[in-house]
Structure formats: structure tokens, C-alpha cells
């Protein structure tokens, strides 16, 4: 895998961020609905408002290197998104940026490093672990699948497809878990039977990234 910052002005990384942003904006209602089963119904709203601003600011981000670009996105997010998602997603983007400091192009291993950083940041920020019924329950297996694919030297697109499949399965599997973090945790066992909105969002994003693969 090689994502060049120079290639045709927009890079695979930029495309991916744009897909994330447009997908979150497009799924506002769906993500809200997921969050209203056992949360407070604003997950989609928070993400949509943040990523709307990302798309608005799109042309103005400093693109000196990939890390700086990602950092700009992270700043928009954390200044715009409130709720749990603001600090969680802001931290994730910031840590991903840190993981590729001053890189001009990305290898498969860099993608894994970015996700490692994001995951560590999310865990530190919110104190959640895998199994607590949060987006980590999709994001961590997704990253592990990419790590494996990269180790096997698989095709980027094939890796992405495998990762999306794992994300979807893991996200659906959160239905069986009891929420232990965030607002959903107040419901105790009543959260069993419905998946975690953040985890489903990870699956939806992974699938759209694959679909938009150029």
C-alpha cells in the first residue's frame, strides 16, 4: 500500500477521511436511532455536525504532510463535537496523526500504526476495554485483521474487504454484551439484544471505505 500526499492532489488518506465524513453525515438519522435504543439518541447528530464542518473546512486544511492534515481534521472534530464522541473521535484522529508524524506516504504498516494510536487514545480517554460494548469492539478486531493482512502481504483492497467483514461481524456481536461505558451502561442488562451504535458506525464506515475504493 502506498498513499502519496502528492498523487492527483487528493490521496487515498484524504479520500478515506472524506468517505468517513460523508458517510457520517448521510447516516445521521440511522446513527441517532441506534443511540436511542439504550442511549440518548444524539450519536448521529454529534458526528454529523462535526463532519459537516470537516467537509466545510476541507479546502483550508494545511496539507504540508499527512499528519498535519489529519491533525487539522482532529482539531475541527474536537472543537465541534460534544458529547462522548467529541473527545473520543478527536483523540482518535489526533493519535492517528501523531502515529504518522512527517510522513509523506503511507505503507500498510502505517495504517496499523495509526489505528493502534487511535485505539490507545480512545482507551486512555474513556477508560473502556474490548468487551465493554463500545466502538472499540469493532475497531480493535478491524485493526487486527488489517495487521494480519499486511503481515500476509495481501492486496490493499482485499485487506480492506476482510477488515470490513470483521468489523460488521464484531459490531453485530456487541448485541450480546452488556454496556459498561457511556450512557448505555445505565441500562445494565437491558442493553443486551441491541448492538452498540459506535461499533455499528465502525462497520458502516469500513463498508463505505471499501465501496468507495477507486
Amino acid at each position: 500500500m502506498n498513499y502519496s500526499a502528492s498523487a492527483t492532489g487528493t490521496t487515498r488518506l484524504e479520500n478515506t477521511v472524506k468517505t468517513i465524513a460523508t458517510t457520517c453525515v448521510a447516516n445521521e438519522q440511522y446513527f441517532c436511532d441506534l443511540d436511542s435504543v439504550f442511549g440518548d439518541g444524539d450519536f448521529g447528530y454529534s458526528l454529523a455536525r462535526g463532519f459537516e464542518k470537516v467537509l466545510e473546512d476541507w479546502e483550508s486544511y494545511d496539507r504540508s504532510d499527512l499528519s498535519t492534515f489529519l491533525q487539522g481534521v482532529a482539531m475541527t472534530m474536537s472543537s465541534r463535537i460534544g458529547g462522548t464522541s467529541g473527545p473520543i473521535w478527536g483523540t482518535a484522529f489526533l493519535r492517528a496523526a501523531t502515529a504518522i508524524k512527517s510522513k509523506q506516504s503511507l505503507e500498510g504498516a502505517d495504517v496499523v500504526a495509526m489505528l493502534d494510536g487511535a485505539i490507545a487514545g480512545i482507551k486512555k480517554r474513556g477508560g473502556a476495554e474490548v468487551g465493554d460494548k463500545t466502538l472499540l469492539d469493532a475497531l480493535v478486531p478491524l485493526n487486527d485483521e488489517i495487521r494480519e493482512g499486511v503481515a500476509e502481504n495481501a492486496e490493499p483492497r482485499a485487506i480492506a474487504e476482510r477488515a470490513a467483514k470483521v468489523a460488521r461481524e464484531s459490531a453485530e456481536a456487541t448485541s450480546t454484551l452488556t454496556a459498561r461505558r457511556g450512557r448505555a451502561s445505565y441500562t445494565g442488562d437491558r442493553s443486551i439484544g441491541s448492538p452498540d451504535p459506535g461499533a455499528i458506525a465502525m462497520a458502516v464506515l469500513a463498508e463505505h471505505i471499501v465501496d468507495s475504493w477507486a
Binding site: 460534544g82 462522548t84 457511556g182
Partner: protein, 331 residues
């Protein structure tokens, strides 16, 4: 959705705009950061008190900004903690030599935003402390969850630290008072209907015509159990049975009792509930030194109520009695 709104996304700013227009002499509105500040703050001889949380709980907290209570409120969108940057900006604008206290209801999103903001403010040389309010007994303690939520009891913490700050107390003393009041305060609520966030447009949960949600949170989070509607007497009994043994409140105690409406409940019903609670507590030998009946901390348009008990001593009582001047008023 039956609401008086224009664009659902403009609900919070338009509300804050109205609040500022209604209080031109006492409040400043900072639209870029969703802030409502006392026009005369900061005062370098007083600790500045800031409360942040999601919107949708009005009059909490934006309408509690004024002499003797908050120096500033930093609301997020409906039911969403404010972005970190907004909290930081509030701390910057209200930075005082005596320090800044950030009051936060104990929820994941708020905790993260305020902890990040505290670190950043601290790095900028602002003297700042954070205090978490967690009065909701509906949440059973657990190793895993973030712990009990902050609900209507936050009023008492705000009132007490606001009075202490007005009296010139220093930051350590104010933190001590805030922790003490928080530790003496217990709340539990019940919802008869779900609330409808403007941006969602439909009720947050389904609830049968004959059902109620006992232990509901102020964001419509489910509570302890879903059960059939019962009489006002039985509802008060169930709430008090959860609240009273929790501190515990015991015979001989003097308390403040708040009967709080969750947004869609008329004050007539709140007084009816007050009468029942008063009688029940009297039977237990608990006397009510101060009472508060009204909608103090709401969940948008939810039909519901919460009862809060605060164990009074001379210090807390005199802080609660101290005068304050805030937008919510009758005259």
C-alpha cells in the same frame, strides 16, 4: 414533534439568544462558544463558578447564571457535553486570581471534555479545579460504569458553592463545600413519557400508555425498571424507599426536599407530590427545613419528576438561604 422551534439545529443558540435578550444588563452571550456569562465576571476577588453540561435541562444551567450562583454556563448541544474547546474558552474568560471551579455532572462525555479542558487550562496557567456531581441513586454502583449520574441535585451544589464564592471563600474551601453538599444529596426520578430531542424529532424511547420508567435519567436514559403506572402515593413511596436508606437519612434529620419537574409536568402535580413526600418523611421523623417545588433540572419536555433530599446542617442551610439573583424569577 410538537415544539416551538425554527431549525432544530438552531434550537440551543436561539434559546441562548432569547435568554441574553431577556437579561441584557446581567448576562453576556458568546455565540461562538455557546457561553452564557455574568456580565460583571470575572471578579478577581471571587472564585468563578462554571457549570457545563448538555442542553435540554433548562433552567439548568444557563438560567442559573447570576449573582450568588454561576459565573458562567457552558452548555453543549441537546444532551451532549460541550466540546472541550468551549469549556476551555469559558475558563479563559472567567479566569480569576482566586481560581475557577468547573462543576460537572458525572457522565462519560462531560467528564472527558472537562478533564481535557482542565488540563489545557492548567497548562495555560489558569488556577482551576473540577468537581463532579453524582446524586442519582438510581444507578447502582459498579466497578465498570462511570458511576452515579449527576441530576437535579446539582442545584444544591451550585447554590452552595455560589454562595460561598460570593462570600469570598478560596478555591480549596469552595471545593470542600461542593464535595460536602454533593455527598449529602440524593435524587431519584421517574418518567411517565419520553422526551423528544429537537434534532431527533421523535420520542427517545417507547413507553406504553400505562407504563412508567422508574429511575430515569435526565436524558431519558432508562432507569431501574419499567413498570405499570401507579398512584402518586405509590410513586413517592418507591422513590423515597430508594433515596432515604441510601445516605441514609434518619429520624431526627433536617433536610431540604426538592420536587423537581422534568419539563412537561405542571406545578400543580409537583405540589401534590410534595404534600405526599412531606407527610411520608414526617412519619419517618425527618423534618423538611427547606423545600423546592418546581422545574429546576429538566429533560426537555419529559413528563416526570424527581425527588431530591439534602441533609442539612447549619453550614449548608445558611448557604442555601443566601440570596441570589438569576434569570429564573417571577418578577
Amino acid at each position: 414533534m410538537k415544539k416551538f422551534i425554527n431549525d432544530p439545529q438552531a434550537f440551543v443558540p436561539e434559546m441562548l439568544q432569547g435568554l441574553a435578550l431577556a437579561n441584557p444588563d446581567t448576562l453576556t452571550y458568546v455565540p461562538e462558544y455557546n457561553l452564557i456569562l455574568r456580565a460583571d465576571a470575572p471578579n478577581q476577588d471571587r472564585v468563578s463558578i462554571i457549570q457545563g453540561s448538555g442542553s435540554g435541562h433548562e433552567p439548568a444551567h444557563v438560567m442559573l447564571v447570576g449573582e450568588g450562583m454561576l459565573d458562567g454556563a457552558c452548555p453543549g448541544d441537546v444532551f451532549a457535553a460541550p466540546p472541550t474547546e468551549y469549556v476551555l474558552e469559558a475558563a479563559r474568560r472567567l479566569a480569576s486570581d482566586k481560581g475557577v471551579l468547573l462543576l460537572v455532572n458525572n457522565y462519560t462525555g462531560d467528564k472527558m471534555a472537562f478533564e481535557m479542558a482542565e488540563e489545557l487550562a492548567d497548562a495555560e496557567g489558569i488556577k482551576v479545579r473540577t468537581l463532579f456531581i453524582n446524586d442519582d441513586v438510581a444507578v447502582e454502583d459498579s466497578l465498570y460504569t462511570i458511576g452515579r449520574r449527576g441530576v437535579a441535585g446539582n442545584f444544591f451544589v451550585i447554590k452552595a458553592v455560589g454562595a460561598a464564592a460570593a462570600g469570598g471563600a478560596d478555591l480549596d474551601e469552595i471545593v470542600r463545600i461542593g464535595e460536602k453538599v454533593n455527598a449529602a444529596t440524593r435524587t431519584m426520578g421517574v418518567a411517565l413519557t419520553a422526551c423528544t430531542p429537537p434534532a431527533k424529532g421523535t420520542p427517545l424511547f417507547d413507553i406504553g400508555d400505562d407504563e412508567m420508567e422508574v429511575g430515569v435519567g435526565i436524558h431519558g436514559e432508562p432507569g431501574r425498571r419499567r413498570t405499570k403506572m401507579t398512584s402518586a402515593n405509590e410513586i413517592v413511596d418507591e422513590l423515597l424507599e430508594a433515596i432515604v436508606p441510601d445516605l441514609p437519612f434518619s429520624s431526627g434529620d433536617d433536610v431540604a426536599l426538592m420536587v423537581n419537574g422534568l419539563g412537561g409536568t405542571p406545578i400543580s402535580e409537583l405540589y401534590l407530590l410534595y404534600g405526599i413526600a412531606h407527610a411520608r418523611l414526617a412519619e419517618k421523623g425527618i423534618s423538611i427545613g427547606r423545600n423546592y417545588v418546581g422545574s429546576y433540572c429538566t429533560a426537555l419536555d419529559m413528563v416526570g419528576t424527581s425527588l431530591t433530599l439534602v441533609k442539612l446542617d447549619d453550614e449548608i442551610r445558611s448557604l442555601l438561604e443566601a440570596p441570589a439573583h438569576i434569570p429564573v424569577r417571577i418578577f
